[in-house]
Amino acid sequence: MTETMQLGDMLRRRGISRRALLKYASYMASLMALPPSVAGAMAEGLAKARRQAVIWLSFQECTGCTESLTRSFSPSLEELIFDFISLDYHHTLQAASGEAAEAARRQSMRENQSKYLVVVDGSVPTADGGVYSMIAGRTNMDVLAETVEHAAAVIAVGTCASFGGLPEADPNPTGAVPITKLVTGKPVINIPGCPPLPQAMAGTLTHFLSFGTLPELDALHRPRAFFGETIHDRCYRRSFYERGLFAKSFDDDGARQGWCLYELGCKGPVTYNACASLKWNGAVSFPIQSGHGCIGCSEPRFWDRGGLYKPLSAGTADVRKLIGIAAVAGVALGAGAAALARQRRASTSATEQ
């Protein structure tokens, strides 16, 4: 199924003109915070690119990431990406199943050796030899290792693949681990989020297709274009934070006026993602705009970092019982010290007489 034709010609046959490509490229350039002038070069790059083979591996995942990207309820600009790539293996989307599906995967790996992309969705269980998630009788770990071996790059989509996400949350019975833990020697890009922004996924792929290189990544391998700033930095309610106007409960007068949700546990300040600027569901809204604080879903261990509704400035440990015991211990120690002092004082006057 390898495509020798250039992407541009192939798309045109499918009714997607170079103008559409230019529109797509300028949109993507804007998302990637690249200068508008880059759009032209990006469109040309896309047109000349070969159709990119992509193998999508789904492990311990809830298909939320696929849902977010394919956005089945109404086709969007992001989905154009699926016309640029040949999705050779995707449990949910592909027609083939069982052995046929596996055969398709191996064939694509052979034909596009060291040129295909591996997209991983979901974390990989490692406990008890990885038996907790298997495909066609083989553990996710084996499938991952085998598939990744000749890949050009690996894209971990969603917080589960990037950082372990919910499967890895305490107590982590399956010993789930993020992809970066298992894949070494290959460039890995993390696109966290639960689910991740479709624009982030599409933007990363487009950047790879049009420029042939991976976008600039940060310390956690996340594309800086989408994960360079915190929600708090781009939040439209920031002016209320500065003025100290905070909603006290989810439906009080402050909340209705769109005041800052810091007091209701918003984790915007410590969460790196582009929800506040790109927004969701076709730039309609994002969690904070709909009145709920950001829960930091694109950060590692977001599930175990103290309650979602506990404000950032409050401690995560429940210390009240602890402080009760500490108080008793303190007074006891004080009484002991005082008794000791009295006793030492008495001993001095005793020897004095």
Binding site: E263, G306, G315, A338, A341
Partner: protein, 219 residues
């Protein structure tokens, strides 16, 4: 375990526990020492002891006119950073939330930008206090390492707090973590250094107030 999780979790909990144990240990250790009552007949017309104590605690908030001139700078500068610290700690919304998470008490906060300004003034005042402690011969003679540790652990939270709010120097969660760690350090040191005067001053002034009102003198 990310730095922020460590700071917000175990570090803060440890700080709070040591703070409570240490403070009550020191307070109980002092207040349970033998009481040496003054059994001499009181000056007639002397007010009851607790009232006298309270009056002295309030009266001593400002120096007598004989000393106001000579102690003008330390008095005013101390009030600047004491009120500054109070406004910052009890005025900023995130701080109020922290206190609410511990005590359940809550009250309306001040605009964050205003508190930020107060924080800068407080910081300047704290540095002025340090300059005086290093420069003035009397203070240089009196001061020992505990005073400088207390100064440092009082100033660090202000510095890190200002850095955190202005997102300077590192990512926000690192700055916030460092700020919370500096709070834990302050809480751990609090009972063992001179910061305990924040609690002891009431008893100390009260004791002297009682002693002298018994004699008919309003100190």
């Amino acid at each position: 375990m990310e730095l922020l999780d460590f700071a917000r979790g175990p570090a803060l909990a440890f700080g709070l526990v040591v703070f409570v144990v240490g403070s009550l240990w020191r307070l109980a250790g002092v207040l349970l020492l033998p009481r040496m009552r003054d059994l001499s007949p009181a000056r007639d017309g002397a007010p009851p002891a607790p009232l006298a104590a309270l009056r002295t605690v309030l009266r001593r908030m400002w120096p007598r006119k004989e000393f106001a001139q000579a102690t003008l700078f330390p008095t005013i500068n101390s009030y600047v950073f004491h009120l500054g610290l109070a406004l910052v700690v009890f005025g900023l919304a995130p701080h109020i939330l922290f206190i609410r998470s511990l005590t359940g008490l809550t009250w309306p906060g001040l605009p964050s930008n205003l508190v930020y300004g107060v924080g800068v003034i407080t910081l300047a005042s704290l540095f002025a206090a340090l300059a005086r402690r290093l420069g003035h011969p009397v203070l240089r003679l009196l001061s020992h390492s505990g005073d400088y540790v207390s100064w440092l652990l009082t100033t660090l939270p202000v510095v890190t707090g200002l850095l955190a709010t202005s997102h300077l120097g590192a990512r926000y969660e690192t700055l916030l973590a460092i700020h919370i760690l500096s709070i834990s350090a302050l809480l751990v040191w609090f009972p063992f250094g001179k910061l305990m005067h924040a609690v002891l001053f009431v008893f100390s002034r009260g004791a002297t107030g009682m002693r002298f009102s018994h004699r008919g003198v309003n100190v």
